[in-house]
């Protein structure tokens, strides 16, 4: 979706502000927010793309004025509410908590934390759509503006670049956020700064974007 989260190339955001000796977490609430989001993953009720799409749907004004873990809080409450695990009324204490009867894996135990996080997830697949492109091909990023989730950033749409790597069959994030794996090839596409930004670009800069087969079309440019 053309949300406020899709920030690449936007003007007016100001200087990058660094914090000296920044701690991993700024206070306990950030620790709990980070941990809850990961613990919920063990339940298997939502995938990473649904989780990202939930964050993208935060009110744009609030998104811009929120700190990062506030965005996580908003997204987690949204997706858990949509999946029926919790409700706003339960959260505010207006109604007592009801048990969640939907299908889910058991809650994460302390002993299972390291094995789960050491293992991670798998995003590659054995079978899927045949590759439409190969390394060295000139490709154009499609000019699409879906209302759902997409990992094709706005700044690359309509631009022509070159495929520099084929990472193989991957779950297609745009589909996965809406319930379908749709495995297809994922490529690293090199766009020159001039391709993307015209006169405002730099002759010696290039931007490499990971894009899926369905994001691309052949180009003779």
């Amino acid at each position: 979706m053309d949300g406020v989260h899709d920030m690449g190339g936007m003007h007016g955001m100001g200087p990058v502000e660094q914090e000296e000796n920044e701690p991993v977490f700024h206070g306990e609430w950030e620790q709990r927010m980070f941990a809850m989001n990961n613990a919920v993953s063990a339940l298997g009720v939502r995938n990473i793309d649904e989780s990202r799409h939930a964050r993208e749907r935060m009110n744009p004004g609030k998104y811009l004025s929120s700190s990062y873990y506030e965005i996580w809080l908003d997204g987690l409450v949204r997706i858990l509410s949509e999946k029926g695990l919790i409700s706003e009324e339960e959260l505010s204490g207006e109604v007592p908590p009801k048990p969640f009867t939907g299908e889910h894996r058991p809650a994460l135990t302390a002993d299972a934390v390291d094995p789960m996080m050491d293992k991670g997830a798998t995003y590659t697949r054995e079978d899927g759509k045949p590759a439409s492109f190969k390394v060295g091909d000139r490709v154009k990023a499609k000019n699409i503006h879906p209302s759902g989730h997409t990992r094709l950033p706005r700044y690359a749409r309509g631009a022509t670049g070159e495929i520099i790597a084929d990472y193989g069959l991957h779950v297609f994030a745009d589909s996965s956020a809406h319930g379908d794996d749709d495995p297809q090839h994922l490529y690293s596409v090199r766009f020159t700064s001039r391709d993307l930004w015209g006169e405002d670009g730099h002759d010696n800069d290039a931007i490499y974007v990971d894009l899926w087969d369905d994001h691309l079309e052949a180009s003779n440019d």
Partner: protein
């Protein structure tokens, strides 16, 4: 208050809401408090940029390891015991006198957790995400990193699950140093690409 500004205290409602959410999830049996404690401990105390620094130091010292790292970074990094969430598919990109790499996630906060730990606030901020794809050299100057015009800048936007690890250039005058001493020169930002590795004098 915004995430493009310095980190400041959250509103009391936010803190309260996080507490309420935890209580609710625990009461429903969906989350265990001890598991949350273990997750915090893992990312606060065990997984951080020191892991990535070991990888870089080994690549600087051992040409065979470096060759494996450039070919299949996830496997080479797993040799040192660093694996897992947000680092399932790592690609290493090497800085040279002719090429300078820098990493961003313009859409959210994708970052190679197993080697760098959790990202700093600036990496997830609107200014960095919006600007580094468009004017990387200006952003790098704000980190005190000057890239001459004739050096190519490559910006890697982590739009998928591939995570990028920058292998900074090995500083001059470090020929005799052990891997352990070399790792001390590898600061976190040098593995994102916003800074260079420290010289022995800077690290001392």
């Amino acid at each position: 208050m915004g995430h493009n500004h310095k980190h400041s205290a959250p509103l009391p409602e936010t803190v309260l809401r996080v507490k309420s959410l935890e209580s609710l999830l625990v009461e429903k049996g969906l989350v265990k408090t001890e598991a949350l404690d273990a997750l915090v401990d893992r990312y606060e105390n065990k997984v951080g940029p020191r892991n990535g620094a070991q990888v870089v130091a080994k690549a600087w010292s051992d040409p065979d390891y470096k060759a494996r790292l450039m070919k299949d970074a996830s496997a080479a990094i797993a040799e040192l015991g660093y694996t897992g969430a947000q680092g399932e598919e790592i690609v290493a990109v090497e800085n040279t006198p002719d090429v300078h790499n820098v990493v961003v996630c313009t859409l959210c906060s994708c970052y190679p957790w197993p080697v760098l730990g959790l990202p700093p606030v600036w990496y997830k901020s609107a200014p960095y995400r919006s600007r580094v794809v468009r004017e990387p050299r200006a952003v790098l100057e704000e980190f005190g990193t000057h890239i001459p015009d004739d050096v190519e800048v490559r910006v890697w936007d982590s739009t998928a699950e591939t995570r990028y690890l920058v292998i900074p250039e090995r500083p001059e005058g470090t020929e005799g140093l052990s891997e352990e001493a070399l790792a001390d020169l590898v600061n976190r930002d040098s593995m994102i690409g916003t800074r260079k590795a420290d010289s022995p004098e800077e690290a001392a």
